[in-house]
Amino acid sequence: MNEPQILRVLVVEDNADHAELILAALGESPVKVVVAHVSDGQEALDYLHRRGACSAAAGEQPPDLVLLDLGLPRIDGLEVLRYIRATPQLRALPVVVLTTSSNDRDVLAAYAHHCNSYLLKPTDCGSLSELLATVLRYWTACNCLPEAAAGETG
């Protein structure tokens, strides 16, 4: 088993209630996480580039995982995703879309822009924590694989 590591997660979520729920769920997960939260697409890009108000909050390295909502003010979620995939130093960043839209068009568009997975915010009780715990476990495991680590640092 790999030694326990801290996963840095960026949550991009404009709805304050949803953000609170996601942050609480992440906090409860068995995987240790450092969570940063931004509330629109522009802030997300600023965070990833360590610019403006986000320069202090952001660490030296890009986050290990991005939880991205789609309907965002200023810059839309899909646009953020497209930007990440088009930027060489961010391209390998794992992006999990977490949204309320179950519309095929959104799912297809998100995968067309190379999101790593597309998850629906649960509308029944009790599964957000489990869902996010699973996601975190998965990405922690991925991060421990030598290729993934090499891919990310290189």
Binding site: D14, N15, D17, H18, E20, L21, A24, S39, D40, G71, P73, T100, S101, S102, N103, R105, K121, P122, T123, D124, C125, G126, S127, L128, S129
Partner: protein, 459 residues
């Protein structure tokens, strides 16, 4: 006295014309159709008189076999021409009749006046060409000129100025005139008939094109409304689910807390839950309002927008004062056609929208004026212009979306402009928003139908 007698004659003449040449219902101007019918009838009358004269004359004099043969040829060709007209080959018929007239005239010219006198047949060539071109007035004019020329020549011959090979000046001229007049008259009558038929066909073609265009427009409208419905369903599913995520999420947390004996956060969670539930309730209310707005409730009637704005000024007074906003109506606002209450909602929402987004303007103003009056499609375009916050031109379409707000901190649910668009489109109108950018003010262009002519008369 004389004038009265003349007008009576004219009236009875018109009655006669109406009886024998019933007017053809066509798209042409009535005056033109009338004048051409009158011309034809006059010519027919003249030719009937002439034919009677010729018959009387011929009975009294020695008839020549040559002239009889020529007459028969001409009659046969006219008969054939009539058959052709009956079968719808009118151009061919006109050509046949004119060519045979011309040929017979040439023959009689040669017979009567000798080869040197080719002026008369040559004069008929233009008549023939005019007939081929279906220019009926030219046919009438040119054939009268030819007749005059024939009579002049016959007179010249009788007076000894011309010396023909065979001395038959007057009968030849008479025969010629008679046939020419009959032929011209027939051509004109059938030309008129033909033109009526042509006009009817053209009208039918136009009607078909109109129906086709109507159908295309309907299909396009259907496709557009389908697309709007899809967009609508998408927003609804997305935005209605959002509070549900909040409710179930906090409820679940509350459950976990309570089962583990913690109650300190319960109040906050309950507050979030009830807030989200309340938000969902208002979303549903607005959706209901929106779905109702798509149906025009009352039969469309003329609506005086000037009146509507006077009413709105009173209705929105407190709101306008609170925003410190001036509402101006520039120039005259025409009467449009629609559901008054719904149209009031349109302008109310647009004005309220302006009061909401003044963008910190010291002298916020919203101006309403009519910018375009297109009588060809019976539509008027109104501009609701403000000097407020404006928007990024790229967002010009998004602001009409259901639950769409350009900035999350904006108050309201983001349904006002969606409602406006729905009402305008239910009136078969259009709306679009223009802005030069954030801080540059916004302009909403609303196109609405104008009342039909009879409705204006009634109102």
């Amino acid at each position: 006295m004389i004038w009265q007698a003349l007008s009576r004659v004219e009236r009875s003449w018109r009655r006669l014309v109406d009886r024998f040449l019933p007017p053809v219902a066509t798209g042409r101007a009535a005056g033109e159709a009338d004048s051409s019918r009158l011309l034809v009838s006059v010519l027919l009358m003249v030719c009937l008189v002439l034919v009677a004269l010729i018959a009387a004359w011929q009975l009294e004099r020695q008839r020549s076999h040559v002239s009889d043969a020529l007459m028969l040829c001409l009659l046969a060709s006219f008969g054939l021409a009539l058959r052709l007209v009956g079968r719808g080959r009118a151009r061919l018929a006109a050509a046949l009749a004119l060519t045979s007239s011309w040929a017979v005239l040439c023959a009689s010219g040669v017979w009567a006046f000798g080869l040197t006198d080719v002026a008369l047949p040559a004069m008929l060539l233009p008549v023939m060409i005019a007939g081929l071109l279906q220019h009926w007035r030219a046919v009438a004019l040119l054939s009268s000129l030819s007749i005059a020329a024939a009579w002049c020549m016959a007179w010249a011959q009788a007076a000894g100025i011309l010396t023909p090979r065979a001395a038959l000046p007057w009968p030849a001229a008479l025969d010629l005139s008679g046939f020419l007049v009959v032929g011209t008259g027939l051509i004109l009558v059938y030309g008129d008939h033909l033109r009526g038929q042509h006009d009817r066909l053209a009208a039918e073609q136009l009607e078909r094109q109109r129906v086709e265009a109507e159908r295309e427009a309907l299909i396009a409208q259907l496709a557009a409304s389908n697309e709007a419905l899809e967009r609508f369903a998408y927003s609804v599913s997305h935005d209605l689910k959002s509070p549900l995520v909040t409710i179930t999420g906090f409820a679940s947390r509350l459950g976990t807390d309570l089962s583990s004996g913690r109650a300190d956060r319960a109040e906050r969670y309950l507050d979030r839950i009830s807030h989200a539930a309340g938000h969902m309730g208002s979303l549903l209310d607005e959706l209901l309002k929106l779905s109702r707005a798509g149906r025009v409730l009352q039969t469309p009637q003329p609506v005086d927008l000037g009146d509507v704005l006077t009413e709105l000024r009173a209705l929105l007074q407190t709101r306008l004062e609170a925003a410190g906003m001036a509402l101006r109506v520039d120039g005259y606002l025409p009467v449009v056609r629609g559901d008054r209450q719904r149209l009031l909602t349109v302008f109310q929402n647009l004005i309220e929208n302006a009061t909401k987004f003044t963008g910190g303007q010291a002298q916020p103003t919203v101006t309403i004026r009519c910018v375009e009056l297109d009588m060809s499609v019976n539509q008027a375009t109104f501009a609701v212009t403000d000097n407020g916050q404006g928007f990024d031109p790229a967002e010009g379409e998004r602001i009409f979306g259901v639950f769409q707000q350009l900035r999350p901190q904006d108050d309201g649910l983001g349904i006002g402009l969606a409602l406006v668009r729905r009402i305008v489109e239910a009136h078969a109108g259009r709306i679009r928003a223009e802005s030069d950018g954030v801080g540059q003010g916004a302009c909403f262009l609303v196109t609405l139908p104008l009342p039909c002519a009879d409705e204006v008369a009634l109102s």
